[in-house]
């Protein structure tokens, strides 16, 4: 263990890693600060570049980006009243009035920043301290337990999916079906290639993920550059910008004031950690629930929504505390609980690392280094945003998609091509972008599709290996107490799913 710790420190404390974490934070905050460009878009755009890095550097870049996006969304929410991403909608409820009505944009943004860092730090520590116990449990998992766990993860994801359960089921099945293109996991014989030679190895993960998240967003944003009629400009934003340029003396947040929010921070952090571990709920639900619970505190009765920093702290800590725990099911069992965790799974797989119990046995040193990167990511968010970048990021929300899309799309194209010098990857990028656009049009959530696409091969492999081991006997599936417990949980989740629909 001591050797692994020293090895991990050795891998993490390399000078080249720190600029990458900083770059990840800057990209993450910048993207999230621009309304319409979300965290997963930023992570997917960075994904191809990680191919050329060491696993630790790659994870440092992506973790920095992920942590940056968690705070970045609140910048445009506070400054312009336009949330950069969906979790920032909860920050907007109190952040924008605090900024626009009370003329305290810096107090709002600093509250959001400190709360985000607090949530991130708590979440990091939870991930670090649960990795070993969960890893030990995961080692006891065979095909039937992993199959049952995947069923549970997918059912939970469907319960919390947006836009109706049947659409989530369809989205999930699209992901599973696309994952089955390529080779049969048991016989290794090509199947479902549709006569396309390049599909014999399956649909490439990175172009698919980038297309589904980022290229879809680019298509939507580019379309919005050509409105039939001009939309009226946002009210109040000019006024707020003036207060950002010329900061008033009472527009500040003291540490004493921040620590007086300890109740809101504790509730939000605990809630974020719990909801983060579960596949499905994610940052948005956590931010809104944390905000709602904070408003129930006696001292906050009737104040939330009027522009109080406590409201900003509640929402932001709830959102950010989901960052680390989202990765716990991925690290321990190899099951991504959200679209973003799926992107991290893709990044690890590109590095030749299969997430799951093997991380604990074969890549312990790398994982310790990744945890150190995680802590540095939180530190970099605080330093970079606190020192000098908040006003700069606030102005990014004003950049027109007419400039952003034409610059970002060619970068995406060359990033895809550079992965394996195959024009086919660009075709997959466009095809999955159009698929994502269609899904968006019909309001089918894309997260279950990506998660199903990622775990599809494992899901099929474990199920079919279980069938081989069982020799046709049903009793095999229920011979293990862990599997029985998980199957009972699946049944309970399905009942909940049906009741919710009814």
């Amino acid at each position: 263990m001591a050797d692994s710790l020293l090895g991990g420190l050795d891998l993490a404390l390399v000078w080249g890693n720190f600029p990458l974490i900083a770059l990840g934070v800057v990209v993450g905050v910048s993207f999230a600060a621009i309304p319409g460009l979300t965290g997963p878009v930023a992570i997917t755009l960075l994904l191809p570049f990680t191919y050329y890095m060491s696993p630790v550097a790659a994870m440092g870049l992506l973790l920095g980006c992920y942590k940056g996006t968690m705070f970045g969304g609140s910048i445009s929410a506070i400054t312009f009243g336009v949330p950069g991403d969906s979790p920032a909608m909860a920050t907007l409820i109190d952040g924008f009035p605090l900024s626009a009505k009370h003329h305290k944009p810096y107090q709002a943004m600093h509250t959001a920043l400190y709360s985000s860092v607090t949530g991130n730090l708590v979440a990091d520590l939870v991930v670090i301290f649960t990795f070993v116990p969960l890893g030990l449990i995961a080692l006891k998992f065979g095909p039937r337990e992993l199959f049952a766990l995947m069923c549970l993860a997918m059912t939970t994801l469907l319960i919390f999916a947006e836009g109706g359960i049947y659409k989530a089921v369809v989205g999930c099945m699209i992901g599973f079906f696309l994952a089955s293109v390529g080779t049969d996991p048991i016989t290794n014989i090509p199947r479902l290639a549709f006569g396309v030679q390049q599909l014999a190895a399956g649909i490439p993960l990175v172009p698919f993920a980038v297309g589904l998240f980022a290229f879809t967003e680019m298509l939507v944003q580019y379309r919005r550059c050509f409105p039939y009629k001009q939309e009226p400009k946002q009210a109040d934003s000019g006024d707020t910008r003036e207060f950002i340029r010329h900061r008033s003396p009472d527009d500040r947040l003291t540490l004493r004031q921040f620590f007086s929010f300890w109740r809101e921070l504790s509730i939000g952090a605990a809630l974020g950690v719990v909801l983060g571990i579960l596949p499905g709920p994610g940052g948005t639900m956590s931010a809104f629930t944390s905000h709602a619970l904070g408003s129930r505190l006696r001292k906050n009765k009737g104040k939330y929504g009027t522009g109080v920093p406590e409201g900003v702290a509640s929402a932001e800590v709830g959102n950010s505390a989901t960052v680390g725990p989202t990765l716990i099911p991925l690290f321990a069992f190899g099951i991504p609980g959200s679209g973003t965790a799926g992107l991290f799974m893709g990044a690890l797989m590109m590095q030749g690392i299969t997430p799951g119990p093997a991380l604990f046995t074969e890549h312990a040193t790398t994982m310790i280094a990744v945890f150190i990167m995680m802590l540095f990511g939180t530190f970099f968010v605080l330093v970079i945003c606190r020192l000098w970048l908040i006003p700069l990021f606030a102005r990014l929300g004003l950049v027109s998609p007419r400039i952003l899309v034409p610059v970002l799309v060619p970068m995406m194209v060359i990033g895809m091509y550079a992965l394996s010098i195959r024009p086919f990857d660009i075709v997959v990028l466009v095809a999955s972008g159009l698929l994502g656009l269609g899904m968006r049009h019909f309001r089918i959530p894309v997260a279950p599709t990506l998660v199903a696409f990622l775990i599809g091969p494992l899901f099929e492999t474990h199920f079919r290996r279980g069938l081989i081991l069982s020799g046709g006997s049903i009793s095999y599936w229920f011979a293990s107490p862990i599997a029985v417990g998980l199957f009972v949980a699946v049944v309970a989740a399905v009942v909940l799913l049906v009741r919710r629909r009814a």
């Binding site: 050329y52 947006e162 099945m173 699209i174 400039i403 660009i426 968006r440 069938l467």
Partner: protein, 173 residues
């Protein structure tokens, strides 16, 4: 006024109902078509050690998607879409924007994929920036040239010099 609001609501409800029918029908037709295609393939009938055919899992996924869509249509007919969960969320985005930018952007990128082995990818991407910005009605020549040259330099430095990516067709040193 109330009548007009009622009519509007009814129209929106009908449109949403139509969207559900269209979407579910498309899913069912696609699922049935794909199942028929898979069934016609020789590999589909090959049975592995687990006693399952190689096509069992893909067919199961398609069948579940088709079945879920069929159930949705039945539910839509039964409830007449009055108070369904569907009507509580906004319908498909009816943005006041044309569709041609999506077609154009996709077509341009697909075309780029076809000719990328003929030209330097870095130069091609810089030209793409110029084209897409110009199509987006940006006329400021300083912005256009700055973005094009900036992208060219950034991509060249990042991919060729820093990451050391080997592109088969290189015009730049």
């Amino acid at each position: 006024m109330v009548a007009s609001a009622g009519n509007e609501l009814q129209t929106n409800g009908t449109e949403r109902k139509r969207t559900v029918y269209v979407f579910c029908s498309v899913v069912i037709v696609l699922a049935v078509g794909l199942i028929a295609y898979i069934w016609s393939q020789p590999w589909a009938h090959r049975v592995a050690d687990d006693k399952l055919g190689m096509a069992a899992m893909p067919i199961a996924y398609l069948a579940i998607a088709g079945f879920a869509s069929a159930l949705r249509i039945v539910a839509a007919i039964r409830t007449r879409e009055q108070e369904s969960s569907e009507s509580q969320v906004p319908g498909p985005e009816e943005e006041s924007c044309p569709v041609w930018p999506i077609v154009l952007l996709s077509a341009v990128i697909l075309l780029a994929a076809q000719v990328i082995w003929l030209v330097d990818p870095v130069v091609m991407c810089a030209l793409l920036v110029l084209l897409l910005m110009r199509v987006a009605r940006i006329t400021d020549w300083r912005l256009l040239s700055g973005a094009t040259i900036g992208t060219l330099v950034l991509l060249y430095v990042l991919f060729v010099r820093v990451l050391g990516v080997y592109f088969p067709t290189v015009w730049l040193p």
